[in-house]
Symmetry: C2
Subunit: 341 residues, 2 copies
DNA sequence: GTGAAAGCGCTAACAG
DNA sequence: CTGTTAGCGCTTTCAC
């Protein structure tokens, strides 16, 4: 493959001149520019970004690490990131850890060796992982999840508020006995959502029953399992269920229906995050919308800004505001009946 | 950041020796190995993959180009690719064209400049795009879509068979008047699926009515719009609708329901591709399963094999077989009634 | 077994 | 304005 040297020979100019026209980094007389461009054309020359990176000590590529691309929460985030990356001439290396810690660590190694200019991570919930990350000399911003107390570059949504809104909605509809079915308690978003539940219940003067709080995973199966568990353990069923994610809500509703419990007639259900398919679920899901595309977009913008500003960068956090989406899973006029087993 | 030179000084060995122990590319006495490793530890050294790439003329990274990460068909494909990439010490640069041709071209440029070792493309349907691709000196394999007549490295699913299976299923249930609602007719999978429809209808001795064949996009909105169009244009409604993708089927069912037409009681609907949420759609969708994860996995395996084998590589095509998934959207005992407007 | 040295393709002083 | 040159950090002969 042709190199600048080949071009310089062919065009009878110095290699520096070639570089200057390729990068438009200095004025070159129209005549020479022409000769160079012609040679480039003829030899089908492409600058070698690897060589340039070695010299410039920057790669114009960033890594994106997330835990599970199959979770429908992420594709929009990734799209947001990719859109701004390409607009700024950056490439993104995608790393899908599949929730595997050792895989996460090996991605970190690779990213460091490949000298990415920065990293966006959507999978950091613990101090431990953060420490691991900070060991590397990498620019980074966290997205969606964050360890407790973390207060530098981050963009996420107000998870606490999300569930508060959900509880408010339930309360305004007259529901009082409300269950919460959450995700993995290690994950920051999951904690924040549970906090939001507690806060919302208190705010509305509603009583919290510990027997109606469940934690599991951010999956449909987990939501399903939690309901089965609840049905077994609890004497008086809740009037409404607040799920920590739409995927969980899907599982919840599935389990309920299989047990002959109608949604929303018997029990109301709210989701959270506004999955692409929530509107067309077995029963159209009322939920809380999360601006995921924005999150990815802003995350990447923040990272690139950090990269270009270097030490002058002033770190910040952006917290996006979620909003209520009313559909059919909890619109039923509330009755006073209490369901017992 | 420490370099091999730093290590070599600190450990009092030559730079070549450092390289040898880092890469285990030659025997080094245990003593020197120790000294080197100690120095590496102390200086927190990380090999510079950029420099290595420049020298070795290979980057251990591949590009993946696809048209729309938001389409639920792709995440599993990407996961399959990423899984095998990491296992082989490769990174993947994700490129999401958003169906934008100029963006596709600029991705190609970038991939060439960044000297990726290969490319997987899931968005190539036309001769034109293929030509554009072949201009670059890049190893590549096509996945999912392919231009007519293309017969080198490819992995996809038997789209024709998929729809044939769907038609067979309808036929076995007694449905005769069947509509087909397809995607963009430019896209290879879309054509193949339409062919499968025609083939299946003929095979089952069923009459094809051109007024019952629609093309649009692989989206819910498009499926919705096609049904509205059909309802307006057609005198005698079909008994069953064969959708080219689940997303389309979602739109179809939504439109039908809004018009007061029950699925499957009034009209049966089959999807295609087995979207993650098809089982929990408003009406659980009977569909055809596509092994998407496998497709990504095999595609990446094929590419990496091609890369390592170089000119000795013997190109091939892998066609995965889809399978019927029966749920509720076309199980209704068929009645002889004909619906007219 | 280990070290010296050339060179991958490019950028950026620095001279002229 | 244009050319010369010294590296960027690493791999890889080729001597010793």
């Amino acid at each position: 493959m042709a190199t600048m040297k080949d071009i310089s020979k062919k065009a009878n100019v110095s290699i520096a001149t070639v570089s200057a026209v390729v990068n438009q980094s200095a004025f070159v007389s129209p005549e020479l520019t022409d000769r160079v461009n012609k040679a480039i054309e003829e030899l089908n020359y492409r600058p070698n970004a690897i060589a340039r990176s070695l010299k410039k000590k920057s790669t114009n590529t960033v890594g994106v690490i997330l835990s599970d691309i199959l979770n429908p929460y992420y594709p929009a985030i990734v799209k947001g990131m990719d859109d701004v990356a390409i607009n700024n001439n950056f490439s993104v290396i995608l790393c899908n850890t599949s929730n595997d810690k050792s895989r996460f660590l090996s991605y970190l190694d690779v990213m460091e060796e490949k000298r990415v200019d920065g990293l966006i991570l959507a999978n950091i919930s613990t101090q431990e992982d953060l420490l691991e990350l900070e060991k590397r000399r990498l620019n980074f911003v966290l997205v969606n999840r964050r360890p407790p107390g973390y207060n530098t570059s981050y963009v996420g949504v107000n998870n606490e508020l999300a569930i508060e809104i959900a509880v408010d909605h339930f309360s305004s509809l007259g529901y009082k006995r409300i269950a919460f079915i959450g995700g993995n308690s290690e994950i920051s978003t999951s904690k924040e959502r549970l906090n939001g539940f507690v806060k919302g219940m208190k705010k509305n003067g509603l009583q919290i029953s510990n027997s109606l709080i469940f934690q599991g995973e951010y999956t449909q199966d987990s939501g399903y399992a939690s309901v089965i568990k609840m049905l077994k353990e609890v004497q008086v069923l809740p009037e409404a269920i607040c799920a920590s994610s739409d995927l969980i809500a899907f599982g919840v509703i599935k389990a309920l229906r299989e047990q002959g419990i109608q949604v929303p007639e018997d029990i109301a259900v709210m989701g959270n995050d506004n999955n692409h398919f929530s509107g067309e679920f077995l029963v159209p899901l009322s939920t809380i919308n999360h601006p995921t595309y924005e999150m990815g977009k802003l995350g990447m913008e923040m990272l690139l800004q950090g990269i270009s500003e270097g030490a002058n960068h002033y770190p910040k956090q952006i917290i996006l505001t979620p909003s209520l989406v009313v559909r059919e899973s909890c619109n039923f006029a509330h009755r006073e009946k209490v369901i017992t087993k």
